[in-house]
Symmetry: C2
Subunit: 250 residues, 2 copies
Amino acid sequence: MTGNIYVIGMGPGFKSMMTQEAFAAMENADVIVGYTVYVDLVREHFPEKEFFTTPMRQEIERCKACYEFALDGKNVAFICSGDAGVYGMAAPVFELLPDYIDSGITSENIIVIPGITAALSGAAVLGAPINHDFCLISLSDLLTPWAVIEKRLKASIDGDFAIALYNPSSHKRHDYLQKACDIMLEAGAREDRACGFVENIGRDGQNYTVCTLGELRKKQVNMFTTVFIGNSNTRIIEGKLVTPRGYKYE
Amino acid sequence: MTGNIYVIGMGPGFKSMMTQEAFAAMENADVIVGYTVYVDLVREHFPEKEFFTTPMRQEIERCKACYEFALDGKNVAFICSGDAGVYGMAAPVFELLPDYIDSGITSENIIVIPGITAALSGAAVLGAPINHDFCLISLSDLLTPWAVIEKRLKASIDGDFAIALYNPSSHKRHDYLQKACDIMLEAGAREDRACGFVENIGRDGQNYTVCTLGELRKKQVNMFTTVFIGNSNTRIIEGKLVTPRGYKYE
């Protein structure tokens, strides 16, 4: 009898921001698998549980370990920060599935449990920056060619979307946010477009900043930051970043 | 002493898909405000609570009622389906704030609590269709000119984004999904692009379909449907819709 693999979005960090089904799936699992940093965020709630962690950049090893546990008959809670299906582990788990079909695991053994991704939790902190059509773009070029990222940044301005940017910075990519802002400005975004960013969303040290695109270009943000660029109608209201839905007010 | 307005994303429907902070904010509120249909989904959990509902299209009246309750010193749980800040009530609440500043309500009295929007919950049902950069577009032209929607559909194909479409149909807009597919095909999307849709996400009657863009164009979906269009790399794996993150597998 094979076990199930629950690919779980745990939200930004605080237990209060997990869904009840996410927490229950961890509680009911035989083993909790994940990146060391995220597993440490939930370990205190399940001190008796079996854990399996791998360091950063060993995502595929982590996925394969889930299949091995499931083949041993264990139910697996595979945890991801934010949402399981937004730059998360849901896709790689399904991509590996054909290798395990002959062992008896089917797509029905893989259950994705959604969670609050940083676009939503960060937006809540800033006000309502993505309250209309929006794009989500990661600035990490580890797995995506920079030319593709550049094309998407340009298209997001052409379409006048509100935008959430993930992975705006890292040790090796300290100037990527500046490059992204330049691409958006060249694509026609105005320097006074309303923007903002949030650090440490849903964790200790959470803080936010509201600014213009011209100001954002000069900011140095860290890797625990989610950045928001408004659409051309986004306004700063009483210090909050707000993208109107389009209602008319008397 | 004014009360606080908690603008709450309740997720798709089932209590298990609410976050713990969303549920707690409803539990601690003096009054729960919302669109009749959504309030009915939570009423059973809080039989003793004061409720205030307004029908569809009375969103601004609903927002103003929240301010009036807060001015009476009540803590208000203003519930939205999905997320509070994705086509939700967070933006209109902030847009009305300047009218109430003189009464003593500040931006600190407005707390947005995120929830699982249909892009995330629907993606989890289908597999992993938005596991890379994606756009979210509503096809409703009640509050947005169709020309803007058309521009965004085209830009989303130009940028090769995965796409989630909200409000793909209604009584008066039965052919909008077909029109949207035609715009995407004209913008260069291939007929065999992998797509899918989910009906009644997180509610009784949930079901999903995986198909190509050419097939999607001929589908008649209802208003309780969320539609997903893959990017050019999205594949159907064992009946699930999967947008690769970009990992290499041995």
